[in-house]
């Protein structure tokens, strides 16, 4: 119970900081929008091709923005050695991990209502409001899947030289199941699901989330305990 209170305090602190540094957050959002735009240039003004690829482009935009958001979230913690201050407080590292992973998930989830409409417009996808809600739900599962190992790896790489290369290098191959699962599931929502496969892809995403949210919480203790 105590740990839950601390996690809530940490998430509140992160959200407050995110709100104060809105421009930082906005630049990540803008980055996502630019990526979506670039995909349409890469494919060409072929509406059919854009529609087919829409789900993939959307998830790729999320993936690329996530590395920015993740390393940014730890840059703040290192600015005045604030993370060290948190480690000095009577807080279990598990609480630090879940606080950070939760606020990262929330931030990435926030991208959905902005990037999805952009994709709908750019790629001429036909979508109902109900579908949109489904897409955002799936996006949430994907965001949680990216944040779980992402927070763990960002905590390690944030103190290293060339963190910008290392984080994607470690994270991208690991989250292939998240990527495949969410692309497939969102694609099924957008283009129809004649063979009722949406359920199993959602289960895959949820399974990844459950496994990595528990595993990384345990391992995070070892990562931060080797303090500088």
């Amino acid at each position: 119970m105590r740990t839950v209170g601390q996690i809530v305090a940490l998430v509140r602190k992160d959200l407050l900081l995110e709100w104060r540094g809105r421009t930082r957050g906005l630049s990540v959002v803008l980055f996502g929008v630019v990526t979506l735009l670039l995909f349409s240039f890469a494919v060409g003004p072929d509406t059919a091709a854009l529609q087919t690829g829409a789900a993939g482009f959307l998830v790729l935009a999320l993936l690329l923005s996530s590395t920015l958001a993740l390393s940014e979230s730890f840059r703040l913690e290192h600015e005045n050695h604030a993370l060290e201050g948190l480690l000095l407080a009577p807080v279990e590292p598990v609480a630090l991990y879940y606080g950070k992973a939760l606020s990262n998930t929330l931030f990435l989830l926030l991208l959905a209502p902005i990037l999805t409409p952009v994709a709908v417009v750019l790629y001429a996808v036909e979508i109902s409001l109900l579908d949109l809600a489904e897409v955002i739900g799936l996006w949430g599962l994907a965001a949680a899947g990216l944040s779980a190992p992402g927070t763990l790896f960002a905590a390690m790489t944030s103190r290293l030289r060339s963190q910008d290369v290392l984080l994607p290098l470690l994270l991208f191959p690991l989250v292939v199941p998240v990527m495949l699962g969410s692309v497939k599931a969102i694609d099924l929502v957008l283009t129809g699901d004649p063979m009722q496969q949406l359920g199993s892809w959602t289960m895959l995403l949820a399974g990844f989330d459950v496994i990595y949210w528990s595993l990384c919480g345990v391992l995070f203790t070892y990562v931060v305990e080797e303090g500088v």
């Binding site: 105590r2 005045n80 604030a82 000095l88 500088v228």
Partner: protein, 231 residues
């Protein structure tokens, strides 16, 4: 539980950074309610010793016990009884002074009302900056705010790394009075400082570090003479 042990106990403690031993062969016992002054030139290992005691740095050799507990395996027990002020501010530039205090209070599971927090800010003359972002604070103001953290934590053991650095005269007097009060209250205090005259008045015992090893140990009153003899 470590109810029986002394406040701090180290045995042949050593810490290595790369190929350099920053601390070596440190045997140290600090009894409860004792006050200890750590002296030594820059790079003699004072900060590292404090960081190892605080559990921020793992010893490369030897062992540390805080109130009989290991800072790493019995993490929460140690953190609850220990507080540290260092030259690192541990602040978030985006938060205001009062928000920073609220975060600390919540993390330490202390329910402290805003009125009480205002009182604390008043004490360190920061009440006028209550709702300003910490990012705009001068280093002296940051330091004052950092002290309030230990006030909230209300520890049994207080580790202070250069508590007087970056402060103006008023700030130094403030901190000095506060440390004196803590010592009088029975808090175990370990201070690393270059302000020997000020600090040796407060502390009973002193310890001189040289190249990471204990070079001299004795009553704090004898430290100035010792330093003079050294040249």
């Amino acid at each position: 539980m470590g109810e029986a042990g002394p406040a701090i106990h180290c045995e042949s403690l050593g810490r290595r950074f790369g190929r350099r031993w920053v601390l070596a062969h440190v045997d140290l016992t600090v009894e409860r309610a004792e006050s200890l002054l750590l002296a030594g030139a820059n790079g003699s290992g004072k900060t590292t010793l404090l960081r190892v005691l605080a559990g921020l740095s793992r010893p490369s050799a030897g062992s540390v016990r805080i109130l009989g507990s290991d800072p790493h395996s019995e993490r929460l027990t140690c953190r609850r009884s220990l507080s540290m002020v260092s030259h690192r501010a541990y602040l978030y530039d985006g938060l205001t002074a009062i928000e920073m205090l609220r975060v600390w209070a919540r993390l330490c599971e202390r329910s402290i009302s805003d009125a009480e927090l205002d009182g604390l800010l008043e004490e360190v003359a920061l009440i006028d900056h209550r709702d300003l972002a910490v990012g705009g604070f001068s280093s002296g103001m940051r330091k004052r705010l950092t002290f309030l953290r230990t006030r909230i934590e209300n520890p049994d053991i207080l580790l202070l790394d250069e508590p007087l650095a970056a402060l103006d005269t008023a700030g130094m007097d403030l901190v000095e009075a506060w440390i004196e009060r803590e010592v009088a209250r029975g808090t175990t205090v370990v201070v690393a400082s270059h302000a020997i005259p000020r600090m040796s008045r407060i502390c009973k015992r002193a310890l001189l570090l040289e190249d990471g090893q204990i070079a001299w140990e004795g009553p704090a009153a004898g430290l100035p003479a010792q330093l003079e003899r050294q040249g």
